[in-house]
């Protein structure tokens, strides 16, 4: 309202200024428009404008009334809603109270049964991972999921739910006593290590192997959501596989010896990582190789020596009986020397015979010392390898510390394997040398001590003195 009046005043002032302007300008512009006309026109305009203002004022007033009525309507709605809210929260409190009353009632009525249910859920929860990771689960799937459902359910279990636990446990027990073939996807079974549906034979829930090549299979459970079967990366040595193959090929009812891994694959994996004989020998390094070469050389010399000594000995024994001169063996050559010198006197005959025997001795003893030296060198080389291995070990300790035994294992295996190889070479070489030297000694004795006697007997039988 105030604003409106102010507007009117401003308009009036403007009209007066305009009028005065016209008054001053009038004599200069035109004299045909009279002042009364202007006044009338101004009055007219102001009347018109005030009528307009009145109308707009009217309009504003009616709008205000309308808004006020709307506001009161909204207020009443808010009141109604608040009332309803209060009502509902009251009902909620009531329900809550009722719920706690009822659950208390349930607890009272359930009593020992509630505790039993708790136990049941715990047991189901504990059994679930065992069955989930079991070998038998790849044959009878779905049991673990059912148990998980029961273990996590908040509602009262039904009779069927309760039966799942004993059923699953019984099935697991039965599976432990079975030897069965079944088909399951196995990782690493394909030629490029891909997952392939493979026929497997399992012994209880402990050991499983593919029936085609008797590759052992293990259950992988670490760091995976769903356990899966995988062919062991390193298969255990042949005796395990052949025992498993004999089981696979056995007739029903037949008794066979079969490998069982109670750790469900871990022990087989460890057995597979054990180095085989060739890897062991390679662990010995260059020193080990040298020892093996020495063993081969020594064994070749010794066996050659034993064979030649045996042949020589039997030939000499034959000659000792027949007393025939010849060139085939040392004793025959001694007889040959006698034949050539028998007309000389005894002194020079003995000298000739001794000379012949001396000439034969090196042939009998030849190579025996080589074997002996090799047998003595082999353990020394083993010792050398041991010391080299210890140096490697201590270098590893100096560089990396003694924290990781696996870092030291390389040097230690060199040290131990060369010792083993040294002994493995020395023992048969010593044995062969003992055999060869006792044979050589026998042959030498025949020649040394018997040659003269045999010659004497022959001389006597020739001359008829006896």
């Amino acid at each position: 309202m105030k604003n409106f009046n102010k507007t009117l005043q401003t308009l009036g002032a403007a009209a007066l200024i305009a009028g005065s302007a016209f008054t001053f300008a009038a004599p200069a512009v035109a004299q045909d428009v009279s002042l009364s006309d202007i006044l009338r026109r101004v009055q007219q305009d102001s009347q018109q404008m005030s009528a307009e203002d009145q109308r707009r004022l009217q309009e504003f007033r009616s709008e205000t009334a309308e808004q006020q009525s709307r506001m009161s309507q909204a207020r009443s709605e808010l009141q109604a809603a608040e009332a309803r809210g209060a009502q509902l929260s009251a009902r909620f409190d009531e329900n809550e109270r009722q719920l706690s009353e009822l659950s208390a009632e349930l607890e009272t009525q359930a009593g020992d049964f509630g505790e039993l249910l708790g136990q049941f859920r715990t047991a189901a929860g504990e059994t679930m991972p065992i069955i989930r990771e079991s070998l038998a689960n790849f044959e009878y799937s779905g049991r673990a999921e059912q148990l998980a459902e029961v273990a996590e359910a908040r509602s009262l279990p039904t009779r069927e739910d309760l039966d799942r636990l004993p059923n699953a446990m019984l099935q697991e027990m039965i599976a432990q006593s079975e030897v069965k073939t079944f088909t399951a996807p196995v990782a690493g079974a394909g030629p490029e290590g891909e997952v392939v549906e493979t026929e497997l034979m399992r012994v209880g829930i402990f050991t499983a192997a593919t029936t085609n090549g008797a590759d052992f299979v293990e259950v992988i459970t670490d760091d995976v959501d769903e356990p899966y079967l995988r062919v062991l990366k390193a298969q255990p040595s042949g005796s395990f596989a052949s025992a498993m193959r004999s089981l696979i090929n056995s007739e029903p009812g037949e008794t066979v010896i079969t490998p069982i891994d109670p750790s469900k694959g871990d022990l087989f994996a460890v057995a597979g990582e054990m180095p085989n004989l060739q890897q062991r020998i390679e662990q010995g390094g260059p020193v080990g190789a040298v020892i093996l070469v020495l063993l081969a050389i020594g064994a070749a010399f010794a066996i050659f020596k034993i064979v030649t000594l045996f042949l020589m000995g039997s030939a000499m024994r034959r000659t000792a009986k027949t007393r025939k001169a010849g060139t085939g063996n040392p004793l025959a050559r001694v007889f040959e020397a006698y034949e050539q010198n028998k007309h000389q006197d005894l002194e020079s005959l003995e000298l000739k015979l001794d000379e012949q025997i001396l000439r034969e001795s090196p042939k009998i003893e030849r190579f025996n010392d080589v074997v002996k030296v090799l047998a003595a060198v082999a353990p020394l080389l083993g010792l050398l390898g041991t010391v080299i291995g210890m140096i490697i070990t201590f270098t590893a300790i100096t560089n990396f510390g003694a924290g990781d035994p696996k870092l030291m294992a390389g040097g230690i295996s060199v040290a131990l394997m060369t010792t083993v190889l040294g002994l493995v070479a020395a023992i048969p070489l010593l044995l062969l040398h003992a055999i060869a030297s006792s044979m050589a000694r026998g042959n030498q004795q025949i020649l040394d001590e018997q040659a003269a006697g045999l010659v004497a007997e022959r001389a006597e039988s020739n001359t008829g003195v006896a």
């Binding site: 460890v270 990582e273 054990m274 180095p275 062991r280 005894l346 003995e350 353990p379 035994p405 696996k406 294992a409 230690i412 295996s413 131990l416 394997m417 010792t419 083993v420 002994l423 493995v424 020395a426 023992i427 010593l430 044995l431 040398h433 003992a434 055999i435 030297s437 006792s438 000694r441 026998g442 004795q445 025949i446 040394d448 001590e449 018997q450 003269a452 006697g453 045999l454 010659v455 004497a456 007997e457 001389a459 006597e460 003195v465 006896a466």
Partner: protein
């Protein structure tokens, strides 16, 4: 405590494969020793008798030729007495070496276990330790028991041969 077959089996299983080799070597050694003992005790007398009789049957027991023949007869007795002595001694010398081999293979087993279990479990290493110690002990026992009989063997041989020599008189 009865030392039955089960205990023996258990002992052999704990000692590992080398113990089996030692057992075989010990059996061979003892067979050789017993063979020698029986020879010295019984068979030698017949051999010596035959040699002495052959010498006594000769009319000529003085000449150089007769000396040669006597040497030959004595040498035959010595050869028979010395058979297998060398081998027996070799077996006695081998037994401790085999024991050492067992020690080292046992240590290899221990280090295998250490490499696989990161050396944490002392109990799982005990298998290798018994494989290392039992053959050593067995090799020592075999060797010592053999030494008792082989150490006197050379002297026994030379004494027996000396006896035969003494009986063959040079007229």
């Amino acid at each position: 405590m009865g030392l039955g077959l089960n205990e023996l089996e258990d002992f052999l299983a704990r000692g590992g494969p080398v113990l089996l080799v030692i057992m075989v070597a010990t059996f061979i050694m003892w067979a050789l020793i017993l063979e020698r003992l029986f020879y010295f005790r019984f068979a030698h007398k017949t051999v010596a008798r035959e040699a002495v009789d052959e010498w006594n049957a000769r009319s000529d027991r003085k000449s150089v030729l007769a000396h040669w023949v006597r040497d030959k007869l004595i040498s035959e007795v010595r050869m028979k007495a010395e058979t297998n002595v060398q081998m027996t001694k070799a077996m006695v010398a081998l037994a401790p070496l085999l024991g050492l081999l067992g020690t080292v293979t046992g240590m290899v087993a221990v280090f295998d276990v250490m490499a696989i279990t990161d050396g944490a479990d002392a109990r799982s290493m005990s298998g290798g330790v018994s494989q290392a110690t039992i053959p050593t002990m067995a090799g020592m026992v075999a060797s010592i028991s053999g030494i008792l009989f082989t150490s006197g063997m050379d002297r026994k041989v030379s004494r027996l041969v000396q006896g035969v020599e003494d009986e063959m008189e040079i007229v």
